[in-house]
Symmetry: C2
Subunit: 250 residues, 2 copies
Amino acid sequence: MSASDSVTAAILVIGDEILSGRTKDRNIGYIAEYLARIGVEVREARVVPDIEAEIVSAILALGERYDYLFTTGGIGPTHDDITADCVAKAFGVAIDEDPRALALMMERYREDELTPARRRMARIPAGAALIENPVSKAPGFRLGNVIVMAGVPAVMQAMLDNAIKHVEGGALMLSETIEAAGLPEGRYGEDLRIIAEARPTVSIGSYPSFQDGKFRNQIVVRSKDAAALAEAKAAVTAMVAKLQGDCLPL
Amino acid sequence: MSASDSVTAAILVIGDEILSGRTKDRNIGYIAEYLARIGVEVREARVVPDIEAEIVSAILALGERYDYLFTTGGIGPTHDDITADCVAKAFGVAIDEDPRALALMMERYREDELTPARRRMARIPAGAALIENPVSKAPGFRLGNVIVMAGVPAVMQAMLDNAIKHVEGGALMLSETIEAAGLPEGRYGEDLRIIAEARPTVSIGSYPSFQDGKFRNQIVVRSKDAAALAEAKAAVTAMVAKLQGDCLPL
Protein backbone atom coordinates (compact mmCIF):
# COMPACT_ATOMS: atom_id res chain seq x y z
CA MET A 1 0.00 0.00 0.00
CA SER A 2 1.64 3.28 -1.03
CA ALA A 3 1.53 6.28 1.26
CA SER A 4 -0.68 8.15 -1.16
CA ASP A 5 -3.48 5.58 -1.02
CA SER A 6 -6.31 6.01 1.41
CA VAL A 7 -6.02 3.70 4.37
CA THR A 8 -9.46 3.02 5.78
CA ALA A 9 -10.85 1.64 9.00
CA ALA A 10 -14.07 0.90 10.81
CA ILE A 11 -14.80 0.80 14.53
CA LEU A 12 -17.04 -1.81 16.12
CA VAL A 13 -18.19 -1.12 19.68
CA ILE A 14 -19.56 -4.24 21.35
CA GLY A 15 -21.79 -4.08 24.41
CA ASP A 16 -25.39 -3.99 25.62
CA GLU A 17 -24.48 -1.24 28.07
CA ILE A 18 -23.82 1.25 25.27
CA LEU A 19 -27.13 0.49 23.52
CA SER A 20 -29.10 0.79 26.77
CA GLY A 21 -27.55 4.21 27.34
CA ARG A 22 -26.21 3.08 30.70
CA THR A 23 -22.63 3.65 29.59
CA LYS A 24 -21.82 6.47 27.17
CA ASP A 25 -19.36 5.45 24.48
CA ARG A 26 -16.12 7.38 24.50
CA ASN A 27 -14.12 4.99 22.33
CA ILE A 28 -15.39 5.91 18.86
CA GLY A 29 -14.28 9.54 19.15
CA TYR A 30 -10.94 8.65 20.73
CA ILE A 31 -10.03 5.99 18.15
CA ALA A 32 -11.21 8.15 15.23
CA GLU A 33 -9.08 11.08 16.31
CA TYR A 34 -6.08 8.84 17.03
CA LEU A 35 -6.24 7.13 13.64
CA ALA A 36 -6.73 10.41 11.77
CA ARG A 37 -3.39 11.56 13.15
CA ILE A 38 -1.60 8.64 11.44
CA GLY A 39 -3.47 8.94 8.17
CA VAL A 40 -6.08 6.22 8.69
CA GLU A 41 -9.59 7.34 7.77
CA VAL A 42 -12.42 5.93 9.82
CA ARG A 43 -15.27 5.41 7.37
CA GLU A 44 -17.89 3.77 9.55
CA ALA A 45 -18.64 2.89 13.15
CA ARG A 46 -21.18 0.50 14.60
CA VAL A 47 -22.45 -0.42 18.04
CA VAL A 48 -23.87 -3.93 18.47
CA PRO A 49 -25.16 -5.87 21.49
CA ASP A 50 -23.52 -8.89 23.19
CA ILE A 51 -25.16 -11.32 20.77
CA GLU A 52 -22.98 -13.73 18.82
CA ALA A 53 -24.79 -13.54 15.48
CA GLU A 54 -24.75 -9.72 15.56
CA ILE A 55 -21.07 -9.50 16.41
CA VAL A 56 -19.97 -12.08 13.83
CA SER A 57 -22.02 -10.45 11.11
CA ALA A 58 -20.63 -6.99 11.87
CA ILE A 59 -17.03 -8.31 11.94
CA LEU A 60 -17.52 -9.92 8.53
CA ALA A 61 -19.22 -6.88 6.98
CA LEU A 62 -16.73 -4.31 8.27
CA GLY A 63 -13.59 -6.44 8.08
CA GLU A 64 -14.17 -7.17 4.40
CA ARG A 65 -14.92 -3.62 3.47
CA TYR A 66 -12.16 -1.63 5.19
CA ASP A 67 -8.39 -2.02 5.58
CA TYR A 68 -8.66 -2.32 9.35
CA LEU A 69 -11.39 -3.05 11.86
CA PHE A 70 -10.94 -1.95 15.48
CA THR A 71 -13.24 -3.54 18.03
CA THR A 72 -13.77 -2.50 21.64
CA GLY A 73 -15.50 -4.43 24.42
CA GLY A 74 -16.39 -7.99 25.24
CA ILE A 75 -12.99 -9.42 26.19
CA GLY A 76 -13.34 -9.52 29.98
CA PRO A 77 -13.88 -12.57 32.21
CA THR A 78 -17.68 -12.69 32.39
CA HIS A 79 -20.21 -14.75 30.40
CA ASP A 80 -21.26 -11.72 28.33
CA ASP A 81 -17.67 -11.29 27.05
CA ILE A 82 -17.80 -13.21 23.77
CA THR A 83 -15.80 -11.09 21.34
CA ALA A 84 -12.82 -13.47 21.01
CA ASP A 85 -15.11 -16.40 20.21
CA CYS A 86 -16.97 -14.28 17.65
CA VAL A 87 -13.73 -13.27 15.92
CA ALA A 88 -12.66 -16.93 15.77
CA LYS A 89 -16.03 -17.82 14.26
CA ALA A 90 -15.86 -14.99 11.73
CA PHE A 91 -12.42 -16.16 10.58
CA GLY A 92 -13.30 -19.86 10.79
CA VAL A 93 -10.37 -20.64 13.09
CA ALA A 94 -10.12 -22.51 16.39
CA ILE A 95 -9.99 -20.75 19.74
CA ASP A 96 -8.36 -22.03 22.89
CA GLU A 97 -6.47 -20.92 25.95
CA ASP A 98 -3.28 -19.31 24.67
CA PRO A 99 -0.07 -20.03 26.64
CA ARG A 100 1.35 -16.62 25.67
CA ALA A 101 -1.73 -14.87 27.06
CA LEU A 102 -1.67 -16.98 30.21
CA ALA A 103 2.01 -16.09 30.69
CA LEU A 104 1.16 -12.37 30.46
CA MET A 105 -1.65 -12.77 32.96
CA MET A 106 0.61 -14.63 35.37
CA GLU A 107 2.67 -11.48 35.68
CA ARG A 108 -0.31 -10.26 37.64
CA TYR A 109 -2.09 -13.30 39.07
CA ARG A 110 -0.80 -16.19 41.14
CA GLU A 111 -1.74 -19.55 39.66
CA ASP A 112 -4.45 -20.08 42.31
CA GLU A 113 -5.94 -16.70 41.38
CA LEU A 114 -6.41 -17.85 37.78
CA THR A 115 -10.07 -18.71 38.20
CA PRO A 116 -12.03 -20.29 35.31
CA ALA A 117 -13.49 -16.83 34.65
CA ARG A 118 -10.05 -15.20 34.41
CA ARG A 119 -8.76 -18.01 32.21
CA ARG A 120 -11.49 -17.07 29.73
CA MET A 121 -9.47 -13.91 29.10
CA ALA A 122 -6.62 -16.07 27.81
CA ARG A 123 -8.81 -17.56 25.07
CA ILE A 124 -7.30 -16.25 21.83
CA PRO A 125 -8.17 -17.31 18.25
CA ALA A 126 -5.53 -19.45 16.53
CA GLY A 127 -3.02 -17.41 14.54
CA ALA A 128 -3.61 -14.11 16.35
CA ALA A 129 -0.83 -11.76 17.46
CA LEU A 130 -1.26 -10.52 21.03
CA ILE A 131 -1.64 -6.85 21.94
CA GLU A 132 -0.23 -6.11 25.35
CA ASN A 133 -2.37 -4.54 28.03
CA PRO A 134 -0.21 -2.62 30.50
CA VAL A 135 -3.19 -1.74 32.71
CA SER A 136 -4.74 -5.09 33.56
CA LYS A 137 -2.51 -7.58 31.71
CA ALA A 138 -5.20 -9.65 29.88
CA PRO A 139 -4.21 -8.94 26.29
CA GLY A 140 -6.07 -7.86 23.19
CA PHE A 141 -5.12 -9.34 19.84
CA ARG A 142 -4.89 -8.85 16.12
CA LEU A 143 -6.13 -11.47 13.67
CA GLY A 144 -5.85 -10.55 10.03
CA ASN A 145 -7.03 -6.97 9.75
CA VAL A 146 -9.13 -7.11 12.92
CA ILE A 147 -7.74 -5.50 16.06
CA VAL A 148 -9.53 -6.49 19.27
CA MET A 149 -9.31 -4.25 22.32
CA ALA A 150 -10.96 -3.83 25.72
CA GLY A 151 -14.03 -1.64 26.24
CA VAL A 152 -12.99 0.29 29.35
CA PRO A 153 -11.59 3.53 27.88
CA ALA A 154 -8.41 3.66 29.99
CA VAL A 155 -7.54 0.07 29.07
CA MET A 156 -8.50 0.51 25.42
CA GLN A 157 -6.33 3.61 25.15
CA ALA A 158 -3.30 1.78 26.55
CA MET A 159 -3.91 -1.12 24.16
CA LEU A 160 -4.31 1.23 21.19
CA ASP A 161 -0.80 2.57 21.74
CA ASN A 162 0.42 -1.02 21.30
CA ALA A 163 -2.04 -2.00 18.59
CA ILE A 164 -0.86 0.79 16.37
CA LYS A 165 2.37 -1.10 15.64
CA HIS A 166 0.21 -3.44 13.55
CA VAL A 167 -1.22 -0.58 11.51
CA GLU A 168 0.23 0.92 8.39
CA GLY A 169 -0.87 4.54 8.05
CA GLY A 170 -1.55 6.51 4.92
CA ALA A 171 -1.10 10.03 3.64
CA LEU A 172 -2.09 12.44 6.36
CA MET A 173 -5.37 14.22 6.02
CA LEU A 174 -4.64 17.91 6.55
CA SER A 175 -7.29 20.29 7.78
CA GLU A 176 -7.91 23.95 8.42
CA THR A 177 -10.76 25.52 10.34
CA ILE A 178 -12.25 28.88 9.44
CA GLU A 179 -14.52 30.59 11.98
CA ALA A 180 -17.63 32.00 10.37
CA ALA A 181 -18.03 34.52 13.18
CA GLY A 182 -21.38 36.26 13.15
CA LEU A 183 -22.58 34.37 10.09
CA PRO A 184 -25.43 31.87 10.25
CA GLU A 185 -25.03 28.84 7.95
CA GLY A 186 -27.99 29.99 5.91
CA ARG A 187 -26.07 33.10 4.84
CA TYR A 188 -23.12 31.20 3.37
CA GLY A 189 -24.51 27.77 2.51
CA GLU A 190 -25.03 28.53 -1.16
CA ASP A 191 -21.63 30.20 -1.71
CA LEU A 192 -19.92 27.39 0.18
CA ARG A 193 -21.61 24.78 -2.01
CA ILE A 194 -20.19 26.47 -5.11
CA ILE A 195 -16.70 26.60 -3.57
CA ALA A 196 -16.93 22.93 -2.56
CA GLU A 197 -18.21 21.68 -5.91
CA ALA A 198 -15.33 23.31 -7.77
CA ARG A 199 -12.73 21.51 -5.60
CA PRO A 200 -13.01 17.72 -5.87
CA THR A 201 -9.77 17.00 -3.96
CA VAL A 202 -10.92 18.99 -0.95
CA SER A 203 -13.67 18.04 1.45
CA ILE A 204 -15.52 21.00 2.97
CA GLY A 205 -17.92 20.81 5.87
CA SER A 206 -19.81 23.33 7.95
CA TYR A 207 -20.22 22.53 11.63
CA PRO A 208 -22.62 24.46 13.81
CA SER A 209 -22.47 24.07 17.54
CA PHE A 210 -24.82 25.56 20.06
CA GLN A 211 -23.77 27.06 23.37
CA ASP A 212 -25.27 29.57 25.76
CA GLY A 213 -28.19 30.10 23.40
CA LYS A 214 -25.95 30.99 20.46
CA PHE A 215 -24.78 29.14 17.38
CA ARG A 216 -21.11 29.08 16.50
CA ASN A 217 -20.30 27.99 12.96
CA GLN A 218 -16.99 26.60 11.85
CA ILE A 219 -16.07 25.68 8.31
CA VAL A 220 -13.52 22.89 8.01
CA VAL A 221 -11.58 22.23 4.82
CA ARG A 222 -9.76 18.88 4.56
CA SER A 223 -7.39 17.51 1.95
CA LYS A 224 -4.31 15.33 1.59
CA ASP A 225 -2.91 17.90 -0.84
CA ALA A 226 -1.36 20.86 1.01
CA ALA A 227 -1.55 23.23 -1.99
CA ALA A 228 -5.19 22.41 -2.68
CA LEU A 229 -5.94 22.85 1.00
CA ALA A 230 -4.31 26.28 1.14
CA GLU A 231 -6.17 27.44 -1.99
CA ALA A 232 -9.51 26.23 -0.61
CA LYS A 233 -8.86 27.83 2.75
CA ALA A 234 -8.16 31.14 1.00
CA ALA A 235 -11.40 30.87 -0.99
CA VAL A 236 -13.47 30.14 2.12
CA THR A 237 -11.75 32.87 4.13
CA ALA A 238 -12.45 35.41 1.36
CA MET A 239 -16.10 34.32 1.23
CA VAL A 240 -16.47 34.71 5.00
CA ALA A 241 -14.80 38.14 4.99
CA LYS A 242 -17.03 39.33 2.16
CA LEU A 243 -20.22 38.17 3.91
CA GLN A 244 -19.08 39.65 7.22
CA GLY A 245 -18.48 42.95 5.39
CA ASP A 246 -21.99 42.76 3.96
CA CYS A 247 -23.24 42.55 7.50
CA LEU A 248 -21.66 45.80 8.68
CA PRO A 249 -24.20 48.50 9.36
CA LEU A 250 -24.32 50.98 6.46
CA MET B 1 -48.18 -3.98 18.69
CA SER B 2 -49.04 -5.13 22.20
CA ALA B 3 -47.30 -3.66 25.20
CA SER B 4 -45.62 -6.97 25.95
CA ASP B 5 -43.81 -7.13 22.63
CA SER B 6 -40.33 -5.77 22.30
CA VAL B 7 -40.24 -2.45 20.51
CA THR B 8 -36.89 -2.03 18.82
CA ALA B 9 -34.95 0.84 17.34
CA ALA B 10 -31.67 1.72 15.69
CA ILE B 11 -29.76 5.00 15.68
CA LEU B 12 -27.99 6.34 12.62
CA VAL B 13 -25.54 9.19 13.18
CA ILE B 14 -24.68 10.98 9.94
CA GLY B 15 -21.59 13.14 9.61
CA ASP B 16 -17.93 13.18 8.56
CA GLU B 17 -17.08 15.20 11.66
CA ILE B 18 -17.90 12.27 13.96
CA LEU B 19 -15.78 9.81 11.94
CA SER B 20 -12.82 12.21 11.83
CA GLY B 21 -12.98 12.52 15.61
CA ARG B 22 -13.35 16.29 15.32
CA THR B 23 -16.76 16.18 16.99
CA LYS B 24 -17.48 13.60 19.68
CA ASP B 25 -20.91 12.01 19.34
CA ARG B 26 -23.21 12.60 22.27
CA ASN B 27 -26.44 11.66 20.55
CA ILE B 28 -26.24 7.85 20.65
CA GLY B 29 -26.06 7.73 24.44
CA TYR B 30 -28.74 10.38 24.91
CA ILE B 31 -31.23 8.76 22.52
CA ALA B 32 -30.56 5.25 23.85
CA GLU B 33 -31.21 6.31 27.44
CA TYR B 34 -34.29 8.32 26.44
CA LEU B 35 -35.83 5.45 24.48
CA ALA B 36 -35.08 2.89 27.20
CA ARG B 37 -37.24 4.95 29.57
CA ILE B 38 -40.27 4.47 27.29
CA GLY B 39 -39.67 0.80 26.63
CA VAL B 40 -37.96 1.06 23.24
CA GLU B 41 -34.81 -1.07 23.00
CA VAL B 42 -32.01 0.29 20.87
CA ARG B 43 -30.47 -2.75 19.18
CA GLU B 44 -27.87 -1.16 16.94
CA ALA B 45 -26.20 2.16 16.18
CA ARG B 46 -24.16 3.22 13.20
CA VAL B 47 -22.11 6.25 12.22
CA VAL B 48 -21.73 6.94 8.49
CA PRO B 49 -20.12 9.77 6.49
CA ASP B 50 -21.90 12.45 4.40
CA ILE B 51 -21.98 10.18 1.34
CA GLU B 52 -25.32 9.48 -0.31
CA ALA B 53 -24.81 5.79 -1.06
CA GLU B 54 -23.68 5.10 2.51
CA ILE B 55 -26.59 6.94 4.08
CA VAL B 56 -29.23 5.38 1.81
CA SER B 57 -27.87 1.90 2.38
CA ALA B 58 -27.80 2.34 6.16
CA ILE B 59 -31.38 3.73 6.18
CA LEU B 60 -32.60 0.72 4.20
CA ALA B 61 -30.72 -1.84 6.31
CA LEU B 62 -31.73 -0.40 9.69
CA GLY B 63 -35.21 0.78 8.76
CA GLU B 64 -36.19 -2.67 7.55
CA ARG B 65 -34.81 -4.49 10.52
CA TYR B 66 -36.09 -2.45 13.49
CA ASP B 67 -39.42 -0.89 14.47
CA TYR B 68 -37.95 2.61 14.43
CA LEU B 69 -34.87 4.29 13.04
CA PHE B 70 -33.69 7.58 14.54
CA THR B 71 -31.22 9.60 12.48
CA THR B 72 -29.21 12.60 13.60
CA GLY B 73 -27.29 15.07 11.45
CA GLY B 74 -27.26 16.30 7.90
CA ILE B 75 -30.39 18.48 7.84
CA GLY B 76 -28.79 21.92 7.94
CA PRO B 77 -28.45 24.49 5.13
CA THR B 78 -25.05 23.56 3.70
CA HIS B 79 -24.10 21.36 0.75
CA ASP B 80 -22.99 18.50 3.00
CA ASP B 81 -26.47 18.28 4.53
CA ILE B 82 -28.06 15.54 2.41
CA THR B 83 -30.05 13.43 4.86
CA ALA B 84 -33.52 14.49 3.64
CA ASP B 85 -32.63 13.65 0.04
CA CYS B 86 -31.23 10.29 1.14
CA VAL B 87 -34.41 9.42 3.05
CA ALA B 88 -36.51 10.33 -0.01
CA LYS B 89 -34.29 8.12 -2.15
CA ALA B 90 -34.48 5.22 0.33
CA PHE B 91 -38.28 5.40 0.32
CA GLY B 92 -38.52 6.07 -3.43
CA VAL B 93 -40.55 9.25 -2.93
CA ALA B 94 -40.20 12.78 -4.29
CA ILE B 95 -38.65 15.60 -2.30
CA ASP B 96 -39.37 19.29 -2.65
CA GLU B 97 -39.70 22.48 -0.70
CA ASP B 98 -42.51 21.90 1.79
CA PRO B 99 -44.90 24.83 2.42
CA ARG B 100 -45.47 23.68 6.02
CA ALA B 101 -41.73 23.69 6.70
CA LEU B 102 -41.34 27.10 5.03
CA ALA B 103 -44.16 28.45 7.18
CA LEU B 104 -42.41 27.26 10.34
CA MET B 105 -39.16 28.85 9.20
CA MET B 106 -40.89 32.14 8.45
CA GLU B 107 -41.70 32.41 12.15
CA ARG B 108 -38.00 33.11 12.42
CA TYR B 109 -36.82 34.52 9.10
CA ARG B 110 -38.10 37.42 7.05
CA GLU B 111 -38.78 36.42 3.46
CA ASP B 112 -35.63 38.22 2.25
CA GLU B 113 -33.61 36.23 4.80
CA LEU B 114 -34.77 32.97 3.26
CA THR B 115 -31.61 32.44 1.22
CA PRO B 116 -31.33 29.47 -1.18
CA ALA B 117 -29.23 27.73 1.50
CA ARG B 118 -31.88 28.21 4.18
CA ARG B 119 -34.63 27.10 1.81
CA ARG B 120 -32.78 23.77 1.51
CA MET B 121 -33.86 23.14 5.11
CA ALA B 122 -37.50 23.21 3.96
CA ARG B 123 -36.93 20.29 1.57
CA ILE B 124 -39.00 17.44 3.03
CA PRO B 125 -39.75 14.07 1.41
CA ALA B 126 -43.33 13.64 0.16
CA GLY B 127 -45.64 12.13 2.75
CA ALA B 128 -43.52 12.99 5.78
CA ALA B 129 -44.91 14.39 9.04
CA LEU B 130 -42.94 17.35 10.37
CA ILE B 131 -41.20 17.35 13.75
CA GLU B 132 -41.06 20.80 15.24
CA ASN B 133 -37.76 22.37 16.22
CA PRO B 134 -38.27 24.94 18.96
CA VAL B 135 -34.60 25.95 18.97
CA SER B 136 -33.92 26.94 15.37
CA LYS B 137 -37.28 26.38 13.64
CA ALA B 138 -36.12 24.29 10.64
CA PRO B 139 -38.04 21.07 11.31
CA GLY B 140 -37.10 17.41 11.38
CA PHE B 141 -39.56 14.87 10.03
CA ARG B 142 -40.89 11.35 10.24
CA LEU B 143 -41.42 9.22 7.14
CA GLY B 144 -42.65 5.70 7.77
CA ASN B 145 -40.64 4.39 10.70
CA VAL B 146 -37.71 6.76 10.12
CA ILE B 147 -37.39 9.79 12.39
CA VAL B 148 -34.98 12.44 11.13
CA MET B 149 -33.45 14.92 13.58
CA ALA B 150 -30.69 17.53 13.71
CA GLY B 151 -27.14 16.66 14.74
CA VAL B 152 -26.41 19.50 17.17
CA PRO B 153 -27.21 17.89 20.54
CA ALA B 154 -29.27 20.78 21.96
CA VAL B 155 -31.42 20.89 18.82
CA MET B 156 -31.70 17.10 18.58
CA GLN B 157 -32.81 16.88 22.20
CA ALA B 158 -35.57 19.44 21.67
CA MET B 159 -36.71 17.61 18.53
CA LEU B 160 -36.69 14.26 20.31
CA ASP B 161 -39.23 15.54 22.83
CA ASN B 162 -41.52 16.22 19.87
CA ALA B 163 -40.56 13.14 17.85
CA ILE B 164 -41.56 10.86 20.65
CA LYS B 165 -45.24 11.52 19.94
CA HIS B 166 -44.73 9.41 16.83
CA VAL B 167 -43.32 6.49 18.81
CA GLU B 168 -45.27 3.71 20.43
CA GLY B 169 -43.33 2.36 23.40
CA GLY B 170 -43.20 -1.18 24.73
CA ALA B 171 -43.02 -2.91 28.05
CA LEU B 172 -40.49 -1.14 30.22
CA MET B 173 -37.15 -2.79 30.71
CA LEU B 174 -36.53 -2.82 34.44
CA SER B 175 -33.04 -2.94 35.85
CA GLU B 176 -31.18 -3.27 39.12
CA THR B 177 -27.51 -2.62 39.77
CA ILE B 178 -25.49 -4.58 42.32
CA GLU B 179 -22.10 -3.21 43.36
CA ALA B 180 -19.46 -5.92 43.45
CA ALA B 181 -17.39 -3.92 45.92
CA GLY B 182 -13.90 -5.30 46.38
CA LEU B 183 -14.46 -8.14 43.93
CA PRO B 184 -12.60 -8.32 40.63
CA GLU B 185 -14.65 -9.75 37.73
CA GLY B 186 -12.37 -12.77 37.60
CA ARG B 187 -13.55 -13.85 41.06
CA TYR B 188 -17.25 -13.93 40.18
CA GLY B 189 -17.32 -14.47 36.41
CA GLU B 190 -17.91 -18.20 36.61
CA ASP B 191 -20.63 -18.04 39.28
CA LEU B 192 -22.33 -15.20 37.44
CA ARG B 193 -22.36 -17.21 34.21
CA ILE B 194 -24.19 -20.04 36.00
CA ILE B 195 -26.73 -17.60 37.47
CA ALA B 196 -27.28 -15.99 34.05
CA GLU B 197 -27.66 -19.25 32.14
CA ALA B 198 -30.39 -20.44 34.49
CA ARG B 199 -32.47 -17.29 33.92
CA PRO B 200 -33.43 -16.85 30.24
CA THR B 201 -35.87 -13.97 30.86
CA VAL B 202 -33.21 -11.90 32.60
CA SER B 203 -30.21 -10.29 30.98
CA ILE B 204 -27.17 -10.01 33.24
CA GLY B 205 -24.07 -7.98 32.49
CA SER B 206 -20.94 -7.09 34.38
CA TYR B 207 -19.53 -3.61 33.82
CA PRO B 208 -16.08 -2.68 34.99
CA SER B 209 -15.03 0.93 35.02
CA PHE B 210 -11.62 2.30 35.84
CA GLN B 211 -10.98 5.39 37.91
CA ASP B 212 -8.05 6.67 39.96
CA GLY B 213 -6.12 3.49 39.24
CA LYS B 214 -8.88 1.23 40.56
CA PHE B 215 -11.54 -0.92 38.96
CA ARG B 216 -15.13 -0.64 40.08
CA ASN B 217 -17.38 -3.49 39.02
CA GLN B 218 -21.12 -3.28 38.76
CA ILE B 219 -23.44 -6.13 37.90
CA VAL B 220 -26.64 -5.10 36.15
CA VAL B 221 -29.68 -7.37 35.91
CA ARG B 222 -32.37 -6.42 33.41
CA SER B 223 -35.79 -7.85 32.69
CA LYS B 224 -39.30 -6.84 31.73
CA ASP B 225 -40.63 -9.20 34.37
CA ALA B 226 -40.50 -7.62 37.84
CA ALA B 227 -40.66 -10.94 39.72
CA ALA B 228 -37.91 -12.52 37.62
CA LEU B 229 -35.83 -9.38 38.12
CA ALA B 230 -36.23 -9.46 41.90
CA GLU B 231 -35.32 -13.16 42.03
CA ALA B 232 -32.21 -12.62 39.87
CA LYS B 233 -31.15 -9.62 41.91
CA ALA B 234 -31.41 -11.71 45.08
CA ALA B 235 -29.30 -14.46 43.53
CA VAL B 236 -26.59 -12.04 42.42
CA THR B 237 -26.62 -10.20 45.74
CA ALA B 238 -26.21 -13.49 47.59
CA MET B 239 -23.32 -14.47 45.33
CA VAL B 240 -21.57 -11.15 45.89
CA ALA B 241 -22.05 -11.35 49.67
CA LYS B 242 -20.69 -14.87 49.75
CA LEU B 243 -17.58 -13.96 47.73
CA GLN B 244 -17.02 -10.85 49.80
CA GLY B 245 -17.21 -13.03 52.91
CA ASP B 246 -14.63 -15.37 51.38
CA CYS B 247 -12.35 -12.38 51.05
CA LEU B 248 -12.36 -11.47 54.73
CA PRO B 249 -9.05 -12.17 56.42
CA LEU B 250 -9.28 -15.46 58.36
